[in-house]
Amino acid sequence: MTDIATMPQPVSFGRRLKRFMADRPLIPLIILLIILVVILQVLRPGIVNERWLANTAKFAIPLAILAGCQTMTMLTGGIDLSVGTVATMSAFIMATQIVNQDPAVAFLLAMLPAVLIGLVNGIGVGVFRVHPLIMTLGTSLIGTGFLQVYQRTVIASGAKIPDFLNWLGTGVTYGFPNALLLFVPVAVLIVFMLNRTGFGRLLYAVGDNERAARLSGVRYWQVITALYVLSSLLAGITGLLYIGLIKAPSLSLAEPLVLPSVAAAVIGGTSIFGGRGGYTGTIIGALILTVLTTLLTILQMPEGGRRILFGFIVLFVTAAYLRIVEDR
């Protein structure tokens, strides 16, 4: 009559595999990436060559850095929608100021709005507790407005892409894009920061349980302000890299990267609710998105169909990944 409480049963292979994957969330992600590349190669035999790899890397890198901004902010339960505007601003300012200024001065001028916007975001979110979505959206609008006004004042001076950025953005050395020279240190730095520094720890802690962090002596506003400034700085640097890659300063240069950067972070396993995720996953997420874009470009189907496919693949990948990783 009385049922007995469930006893631990021998763990099945499926569960063990799941556990294994759950402990190493990168593996299923890499598998998904490889599947996409294989599909691409099947659809267009020969496309996956050295040159394609270099190009994919070139485009994935700016996306991956911006997605790094999203990863860091999402770890704290936030989001940074101003990265597109910040990147565009620093790119545009760099390209216009370099004409008459010393490169170092131009660089500083280009990074100035990034710092300012980051600071305003950080104070708004960290001190006034404005929802990050609204805060960064607002500053992004304001930034765009200022950029338009600025553009008006410099239109006569013309624009120029500094050779160095050009080399960095598009150059390839021994088959490796030069952008890796920027990206590898940045990526290592972000990964190191998230895993091996006090600040990184705090990002996770604040996002996981703000009260717990507080009780441990963490001052929320300090962490958040530093975070959004850092995020903006990275976005600014991405802007410089991107202008070197695209070589056409425009007022909406990096805007198209914003939503994909959020998507890359989410696909890479970072939780939008904070406290969970990491940068290596995000990098793979950015690669997945870049390959997916190529795949959809190559597909001979109406644009509408491509977008539908894109949406469903993003949803499917995220759902599959959650299923695999989440141990419920």
Binding site: G198, A205, D208, S216, G217, V218
Partner: protein
């Protein structure tokens, strides 16, 4: 018994990961009966209520309602079956007003109003948003809402814990009448006074299993306590006092000196000292201001008056980090408040190391490893699942919250009910640890809702009632009747037994509703 049980649950089990909340619980309630469900903290009472009312799913067990096996899968289904709970946490929707909350659950408004008046709240504004209503009133509203639909079985989980005496009195009256009117009530409380005044029978749970069902009659308390605590009592008394001998007498300046601390209406004129090498207990019934006292000492909220001195120097805390800077660490009772659940044991323990701005740089991993594993070893944390704290058992989670401050070498630890929902063995370890800390000259302020913990761990006990320090005992004098009396605000030395409802009349010292 001749009548058929209205509700009959057998073999109920529920596991949360590694934690067995219920192992083999059974409960049988007769029509028209007020049935007490008793058990120590973490025995599984709330879990059983949640299972009976469909709020969570049992892993095993059989539940018969009026002799029929019903599948109560959701609170809505439980309502239809005539089972209405008042959970331990208020369950009114915070952003809706009372009226909308009634409509949400399909509760008749007039009946509700009548019950609210009956329960001693004559002037309730039914348009008030739940968020703005004080906790005590919310609990009563929860009850009135349940009563208004005239349930067959009413399940009250620590209904009176957060109530001031006058409201509690009304609630008890009403509950007693429910039984007379032929309705069954399952009544959970840690207060024997209420049980003996109210209940017909009691089911006792221990560590997730039903260990006995008894009729309530004079003198039954001892037996219930025995059943609740099992073999624990004898063992522990010995070890506790033995450990105590190591304590260093706190010479010189007190470590912490609190004077006339004031916090709104919650704390009045609280003054006491905490010496080096001392474990001072704080004992109080629920909601007497102990939460606020600890929060103020931890820098979580700012007191509205009074002073706090640390090592003789006055301090003002505006953030927990200030308190930590002064060497005061706070271990909250609710571990979900203290832990980053998705992070590892190591990160949780090392969290305070990174908090200050100047510690944001690279972490010296090897040094951290040594310190963290030292703390883990010291508390014997079972780290088989250390990747994420949420996979640890509750007791081990609790240990992590303490280990953090052991690792950080805090000089003063404020422990708020650290053994809440913790198993016997772990409790022992925590007692031992606290004594050891005192032995090293550290000081501990230790709130507990369990009387025997006071005797096992503390050198001295401070009793709080209605936001005031009503008494301070050396531990030798802190036997249960004395503590209980003080906790109810009765003067020391009063001869009458505690445990009779009549003692707790309003006008003794009980405060009116806030």
């Amino acid at each position: 018994m001749t009548a058929n049980p209205l509700l009959d649950a057998t073999g109920v089990a529920k596991n949360y990961g590694a934690v067995a909340a219920l192992r083999n619980a059974s409960l049988s309630v007769l029509p028209g009966e007020v049935h007490a469900l008793m058990g120590a903290n973490g025995a599984g009472k709330s879990t059983l209520v949640k299972i009976l009312t469909g709020a969570i799913k049992a892993d095993a067990g059989r539940i018969l309602i009026r002799g029929q096996q019903l599948d109560v899968r959701s609170p809505a289904a439980a309502r239809r079956a005539g089972l209405l709970p008042v959970y331990q946490e208020p369950s009114l929707i915070p952003d809706l007003d009372v009226l909308s909350n009634l409509r949400l659950t399909g509760t008749p408004v007039e009946a509700f109003r009548a019950w609210v008046r009956e329960l001693g709240i004559p002037d309730l504004d039914i348009r008030e948003t739940a968020r703005h209503i004080p906790l005590a009133i919310l609990r009563v509203l929860d009850l009135a809402r349940a009563l208004a639909v005239e349930p067959d079985v009413l399940l009250l989980d620590e209904m009176t814990a957060a109530l001031p005496a006058n409201l509690a009195e009304k609630v008890l009256e009403v509950v007693r009448r429910q039984g007379d009117a032929g309705r069954s009530v399952i009544f959970i409380s840690h207060r024997f006074v209420e049980i003996s005044a109210l209940c017909d029978r009691a089911t006792v749970l221990r560590d997730g299993s039903t260990v006995g069902v008894v009729d309530i009659e004079p003198g039954i308390e001892e037996r219930i306590v025995e059943m609740m605590l099992g073999a624990r009592i004898e063992k522990t008394r010995v070890t506790a006092r033995a450990a105590n001998e190591v304590a260093i007498a706190g010479g010189g300046r007190p470590r912490l000196s609190v004077r006339n601390l004031q916090l709104g209406t919650k704390l009045n004129d609280v003054s006491f000292d905490l010496a080096n090498g001392e474990v001072a207990g704080v004992f109080a019934l629920e909601g007497q201001g102990q939460d606020e006292l600890f929060a103020a000492l931890a820098g979580s909220i700012r007191p509205t008056g009074g002073s706090i001195d640390v090592d003789g120097a006055p301090v003002k805390f505006s953030h927990p980090s200030d308190a930590i800077q002064a060497g005061i660490a706070y271990v909250p009772g609710d571990r979900t408040e203290a832990l980053a659940m998705q992070r590892s044991v190591r990160e949780n323990i090392a969290l305070p190391f990174s908090a200050a701005l100047r510690k944001w740089g690279p972490i010296r991993m090897r040094r951290e490893q040594v310190v963290v594993s030292g703390a883990i070893g010291r508390l014997q944390i079972d780290t088989r699942a250390q990747g994420e704290v949420q996979r640890l058992s509750g007791g081990n989670q609790q240990k992590v919250t303490i280990a953090r401050w052991i690792a950080a070498n805090a000089r003063t630890i404020l422990c708020f009910d650290p053994t809440r929902g913790i198993d016997v063995g772990t409790k022992q370890e925590i007692y031992k640890l606290l004594r050891e800390l005192a032995g090293q000259g550290k000081s501990v302020l230790f709130y507990t809702s369990e009387m025997e913990e006071v005797q096992r761990v503390c050198d001295r006990v401070i009793v709080i009632f209605g936001g005031r320090v009503v008494d301070t005992f050396p531990v030798e004098e802190a036997d249960e009747p004395a503590l209980m009396r003080a906790a109810y605000g009765l003067p020391r030395g009063a001869k009458a037994d505690v445990g009779i409802l009549a003692e707790v009349k309003p006008g003794s010292n009980a405060e009116a509703a806030s």
